[in-house]
């Protein structure tokens, strides 16, 4: 049974991605420009364009304070969207893209809305504050909205794999009446280091800059990062499941979509540009927790998935045997 190569099948998710990544973000940025424009008559001629630890430390015109930053933000969002669409073959990478564009747009708008509001009726531009609490709230709302939008991205339907694993691929001997599962718990040193560094760094920054509220939110997010330092990897008759110990993120590859599994060696920086949940230039999704031994799974529709894990040979062997059994 051949799968018809339908451009429509790939076009629909693409359109959905662009819509979700761009439309709400552009709308948010539009609000961030329109409201200050409405308030402009009530603002002083000179406005703050940058804030330091002691209040505004750079000034400029209305355009440089409100229009240009949002224009730059818009450009960033558009570039990000295009990059994400091509580099992020996996829908999870595209979801991250949607959250990112929405959050960035919310950040830009939160800043212009709150400082614009503060600038109304102000006489002395040096007294116009950057209200970090309000901005942080705006960012969090944007983040939550981004998450909701990301959840709306449809998951593409992938073809069933028909190939058998390579003859030289590792295999586990399983008797006719034997069932096998392979379970592993992988510790992510990179998550731990990133999380601890972020939390400690943010605490120091909070003390120095006194922007406690904003940094409290950022610290909470870093704790989320930290919480993902244990990962559960499972191979069973349903396929391969990789999830962080708190449940999300999670990647499930059904056995029916797997063609073959093998052991490879991963170098995080050169292969994936870093650690964590990443995609490489070929669109391969990787859960890169450390350097070294990894399980690489080849799937239908030319996809690959990589997860760094100890005893990858055990996982690959069982996967190949189960795949063969099911074909």
């Amino acid at each position: 049974m051949m799968t018809h190569d339908s451009p429509a099948r790939t076009a629909r998710p693409a359109r959905a991605f662009y819509l979700l990544a761009l439309l709400p973000s552009i709308a948010i940025l539009a609000v961030g420009v329109i409201m200050p424009l409405i308030w402009q008559p009530e603002m002083p001629e000179t406005l703050p364009t940058h804030w330091g630890t002691n209040g505004p430390d750079a000034f400029g015109s209305f355009a440089s304070a409100f229009i240009i930053p949002l224009a730059i933000m818009l450009a960033v969002i558009i570039i990000l969207t295009i990059v994400m669409r091509f580099a992020g073959k996996d829908s999870s990478a595209q979801r991250i893209g949607i959250v990112t564009t929405t959050t960035l747009a919310s950040l830009g708008t939160a800043i212009t809305l709150t400082t614009g509001f503060n600038a109304r009726g102000a006489v002395d531009p040096t007294k116009i504050d950057l209200p970090d609490a309000a901005i942080a709230t705006g960012v969090v709302i944007g983040l939550l909205l981004g998450v909701v939008l990301a959840a709306l991205l449809p998951t593409p339907k992938y073809s069933l794999a028909t190939a058998h694993p390579d003859v030289l691929a590792p295999r586990t001997q399983l008797g006719e009446h034997e069932t096998g599962v392979w379970l592993a718990r992988q510790f992510s040193k990179s998550n731990l280091i990133a999380g601890v560094t972020a939390v400690v760094g943010l605490i120091v920054l909070a003390v120095v800059s006194k922007a406690y509220f904003a940094l409290a939110i950022a610290a909470l997010l870093s704790l989320g990062l930290l919480a993902m330092f244990l990962w559960d990897i499972r191979v069973d008759s349903s396929g391969l499941t990789v999830r962080s110990s708190i449940g999300l993120p999670k990647k499930y590859v059904p056995l029916a979509e797997i063609e073959s599994a093998q052991v490879i060696s991963v170098s995080p920086l050169t292969d994936f540009g870093g650690w964590g949940w990443r995609t490489d230039l070929n669109g391969t999704l990787g859960v890169v927790l450390r350097k070294g031994e990894a399980l690489e799974v080849s799937m239908s529709d030319n996809r690959k998935f990589v997860v760094t894990v100890d005893d990858a040979a055990g996982a690959a062997g069982l996967l190949n045997t189960l795949v063969e059994r099911s074909r």
């Binding site: 586990t172 399983l174 008797g175 006719e176 009446h177 034997e178 069932t179 096998g180 599962v181 392979w182 379970l183 592993a184 718990r185 499972r234 069973d236 008759s237 005893d311 055990g314 069982l318």
Partner: protein, 117 residues
């Protein structure tokens, strides 16, 4: 770590699982302090009864290989499991001899059990 159960084997499933954990501990695949998957997770993954896995874990706990703690799960205990190379070689030799003499596992195990008395 690989877990397997053979439903056609005369050996009870819980014993098969317990055996695999014992071997993993002896070979160093499982280290003291390592946490085994939760009984529920393992039972679901292998499609066996939860009580089968619990039985295996309890057996291992009674032998001193596992510690079962509420909320923490099944942890491999820190008891020394170093098998000297000489013993391992002797066992490999025994298996080879038994094979050559066409003796089945049951016969050999009976003899070893008798010798251990």
């Amino acid at each position: 770590m690989l877990y397997r159960v053979d439903t056609s084997s005369p050996e009870p499933l819980f014993e098969q699982l317990a055996h695999q954990v014992r071997v993993a501990i002896l070979s160093g695949t499982l280290q003291p302090g390592d946490k085994l998957p939760s009984a529920r997770e393992l039972a679901a993954a292998l499609d066996v009864n939860l009580h089968t896995v619990l039985h295996a874990y309890q057996l291992l706990r009674d032998e001193g290989s596992l510690e079962l703690r509420r909320g923490r799960g099944a942890i491999v205990t820190a008891h020394s499991a170093e098998v000297p190379e000489r013993v391992r070689r002797a066992i490999t030799a025994l298996v080879a001899e038994a094979d050559a003499a066409n003796l089945g596992p049951d016969t050999i195990l009976t003899l070893v059990k008798e010798a251990l008395k």
